[in-house]
């Protein structure tokens, strides 16, 4: 549309960004100024100062088709993830609570956040938290559960505010793919398990016929979305048509399979369970919205403190990694990040959610990067590789390039509006037509998306590929294979332990485990791996300049990614991540620099493109 004007404006952004980057850092400071905790609120102040000038553009930039497509694309998974938890918390957290929490968070973050691209909602992990606490409290006196959860929220909020004030989000700069890949894999596995649990529940509640039918629908729903995304990223048809397939990959199959489930006869008679809904705008349980948290015995108030701390720890990692990946380097972002301010805001929503008895919302992995991805304009270019001394004179490859991101806060706001709408009576009835099986399918899609492109799996494939077919340019060749094996073995161990304890009452401890991977990487792993090896195997998850600005610059003590490293070296380290064993994808990676996206394991467009264009474009030949 007004491309020239926009690009001119973007150049303006760049200039301003450089200025603000310089203003917030604790490196090269003297005396007490070096200690970030002694300068409370500095990060938040700079976050707001840095972002505020862009506020108006966040609204004016939004009037494009991509904003609409993105809202549609992310809405369904967002609703899906509100549907868990109902059964396992004694029906305390119902659909109304989950919708309310998501809607509240979407409103607050779309209007007030520094990072409006970070989609906020109810995750599978907080569900896990909530029912683990339910189980713990249930061992003593289950009637205290609402108040305990309220105090968990209050304590968590307090810890959030402390972290935000003391600029502790800066340490997110130390997060590398080592831990974020592990986290992505963990989340993927948990979602797959949740999908299976949803189906198992169907057998228990609705009987065998409904159970097996749910399996069929979940599998075919998964296959439909997966297939549409692959088709949308093949080289079939025109780019605009492929774009529609990819943008509405969730919408078409959802409409189809929900309709399918209601066909009279065998299907209808199977009597599957549907989304359980209750009276609009009222809590699921007969209670007031505000929980009487003042009635909790003091002992229990203090019992809630570790719960609150763990919640903060979970959100510290989960929410910030969502923001990091939603603003990863492969997205050509122009507007600055703001981790401190957003974490403060998250404290506020956590507080409100706590005292009115909602599941606490936070940043969604992998939906947040998928959201940014669906806001990105991609261009599929033609890469012609001329050959030498070969019967084929040239090879033609599709090459996907991200040209721009529609950076705005309207899509998140619209999502919030849609969620409010869903809370009304008429739309609750529509929601009630959706069989639980469809949501099992959504769990599979999102979970598998997080696993398929995960760096752990990619490195495993690299190690298991026949060596002669490995691309000679692949940086992983520079690392001894045993070291690659050790590296992913550490990741897999972390994931396995986290998944295992998630199945027990110790589940509440898993954030400690995930976060423990960061010091392991920072302090212990440099003893086992050379600097060069680490630079090939790993990469900073926060490597986008607009992101580092909010974290006080590149982290110290990470020799392999120090600030003196030339751009080329950093690029090189980055490319190593999304390991591949054929040059086609290597070429694409080198160009589109989307290794990080791949590593975080989201089913983003470009990832799907890489997979799709090859498997479909070539596979069906």
């Amino acid at each position: 549309m007004k491309k020239a004007a926009e690009s001119g404006e973007h150049d303006g952004y760049d200039l301003r960004r450089v200025q603000t980057t310089a203003t917030y850092t604790f490196q090269n400071q003297q005396g007490w100024r070096r200690w970030r905790m002694l300068r409370p609120g500095l990060g938040m102040y700079h976050d707001v100062k840095r972002r505020l000038p862009y506020y108006w553009s966040d609204i004016t930039d939004a009037w494009t088709y991509r904003t609409f497509a993105s809202t549609v694309r992310i809405l369904l998974p967002a609703i899906a993830f509100t549907l868990d938890m109902y059964r396992r918390t004694g029906e305390f957290y119902g659909i109304n609570e989950a919708l309310f929490a998501s809607a509240l968070a979407a409103m607050v973050f779309s209007i007030l956040a520094c990072q409006p691209l970070t989609i906020v909602g109810v995750t599978g992990l907080i569900a896990l938290f909530n029912y683990t606490i339910y189980d713990i409290v249930g061992q003593y006196d289950i009637s205290l559960y609402p108040q305990v959860m309220a105090w968990t929220g209050i304590w968590a909020a307090i810890f959030h505010w402390i972290v935000a004030l003391l600029n502790l989000s800066d340490y997110m700069g130390y997060i590398t793919d080592f831990s974020s890949e592990s986290f992505g894999m963990y989340v993927g596995i948990i979602y797959m398990i949740k999908g299976v649990e949803e189906l198992v529940n169907e057998f228990e509640v609705a009987g065998d016929a409904a159970g097996y039918l749910s399996c069929v629908i979940a599998i075919l729903y998964f296959g439909s979305i997966y297939g549409l995304e692959k088709l949308g990223n093949s080289v079939l048809w025109k780019p605009w048509f492929r774009g529609i397939l990819a943008d509405y990959a969730y919408v078409f199959p959802t409409l189809f399979w929900v309709g399918f489930a209601h066909i009279p006869g065998h299907l209808r008679n199977a009597d599957m369970t549907y989304v359980p809904t209750t009276r609009a705008f009222y809590p699921t349980q007969p209670r007031n919205w505000v929980i009487d948290f003042w009635n909790l015995p003091v002992t229990w108030i203090f019992v809630s403190l570790p719960f609150g701390f763990m919640t903060m720890l979970l959100f510290y990692y989960d929410h910030n990694v969502s923001s990091l990946t939603a603003q990863a380097r492969q997205f050509p972002l122009k507007k600055p990040a703001g981790f401190h301010w957003d974490f403060f805001l998250l404290g506020c929503t956590t507080f409100v959610a706590g005292i009115i008895g909602l599941p606490m919302p936070n940043g969604l992995v992998p939906q947040a990067p998928v959201h940014t991805d669906s806001l990105t304009n991609y261009e599929t270019r033609l890469d012609v590789i001329k050959t030498r001394d070969h019967e084929i004179s040239e090879i033609r490859k599709p090459l996907t390039e991200a040209t721009a991101v529609v950076e705005q806060r309207v899509s998140h706001f619209l999502m919030g509006l849609a969620l409010w709408g869903t809370m009304t009576g008429p739309l609750l009835i529509v929601l009630h037509t959706m069989p639980a099986a469809v949501f099992a399918g959504v769990f599979f899609v999102v979970g598998w998306g997080s696993i398929e492109s995960n760096g752990i799996l990619q490195k495993l494939i690299f190690l298991n590929s026949e060596r002669r077919f490995l691309a000679i340019e692949n940086p992983l060749n520079e690392v001894p294979r045993k070291k690659i094996g050790l590296y992913i073995a550490l990741q897999i161990l972390g994931v396995a332990v986290a998944v295992a304890i998630s199945q027990t009452i110790a589940a509440i401890g898993f954030p400690v485990l995930i976060i423990a991977l960061i010091p392991l990487r920072t302090f212990l792993m440099p003893r086992w791996f050379s600097t060069h090896e680490l630079s090939v195997l790993d990469a900073l998850t926060a490597n986008n300049r607009t992101v580092l600005a909010s974290l006080g610059g590149r982290p110290a003590k990470m020799d392999e990614y120090n600030e003196d490293a030339s751009e080329d070296e950093i690029d090189r380290a980055e490319e190593a991540g999304g390991v591949a064993d054929g040059q086609e994808s290597y070429i694409q990676r080198q160009r589109s620099r989307s290794a990080v996206r791949q590593r975080m394991g989201s089913i983003t467009r470009a990832t799907a493109h890489k997979i799709g264009s090859h498997s479909l474009g070539e596979g069906t030949r």
Copy 2:
């Protein structure tokens, strides 16, 4: 093992083959000798004379692992296709009859055939025939069905012998991919429909829970085999391990899913139907093995004549195309073909099957080419494509080459033995443990295999691909896109009409339709397409020299494939068939010359390789 000795022997084969090729032809003959019908038995005589010298080597060559793997690989689908027909012929053709027919045919053809690679058994099409005749006879007097079928077999046998004696199989030389692709697509669709029918029956007979569970098992069984074949043809692990995955792609999933179906609890309680078995070695109905065909009223004997003629027409096409594709050019075969003799033999088995009330066996599409494929030693070589002026210096591709085929008659014989074994009491009990759902899955695997790699679909993909990504070397570029569209439109029309009438009582007429495609191609299409266009779009299905020897040389009147055409031109025409839009597969095709295999639409190793190596090797990166 004794590679040097073998290759020496093969050179000997070549010499002898050239001699025998020269002996059987009607081209360049004078006077009455030009008319093939006037020299009855000449084709059969030369078939036997040509093949007999190899008989001993057919046994001695067999002592390799590939023979075993091939027997295992083809056995399961062979059994699967014996299980249809039971319900829709008033339980006249039961499992015992189908096994008996397959075992009989396997014995006769493995011992006496000139083309022991052509796997013979009970097909879905003869099932369609049998129940269509059942429906027709049922409109008058269903008690006559056994005798009508006996006479159908007798008449069919007589027509077989006439065709064999008058050397009419020579006209198989006129079959091009135009009709054989259409036939492959038709067979694929019919098998998919049969899979669905199998599942629908489950709902009717065993209820909803069993029905939905069967759907789940069929889908996952299909996915398991498909996935294993893809993995087996990726670049993961060592070649020998991939080989095992591909060789036993049917075995592992079958064992797993059959076991799965018997897990006590929800699965067992679903009460699915299993393979219906009756007393070993006895006919399913209380009758003697020999049918009292002499008791049929004379009117009905003559009513059976058109049924018999149609059966012959079906087998003329189906059996011979099975032989053609089992001996297609991409297989480096050394031993000569023998169409006339084998068709005579097929008359004999048809006769026997008719009078003892068995479904009449014939060549299996697509199992026959899959069988040859599983007997082929493939080598995955490395193709390094050096590039010019590109950031990537080289591209590494796996390149699969067929190095040799274990040409023997032992695998077919072992298959026959295994089928006899299955007819005994103990193994019938094992067979009875297999749920019908597994066979629905087999139908999907075989059916989809016939569709996925079919030339019609490939040309459709070519037309629908974005043009800029099409390989410039692709010969299809030389044909106007409208002409390609017209070409596949004609094919699709043929397939659609054939599928449509297969659902009606007119199903018995479908062989006429399929065979009508041959004169359409030979006489009408040269008016609509230029010689060059046809040479790009189409290719002779019988283009292997060892095959043409038995058909009296290359057919006349096919200008685009005349005998004067240089080898290069023929190769070129061939390559055009398995149309692709990227050069990778084009390269492979150019080397491995497996276009025909692709076009016939079998899930052969090399096809799967092409698909698998790309979608998996690159897809999962």
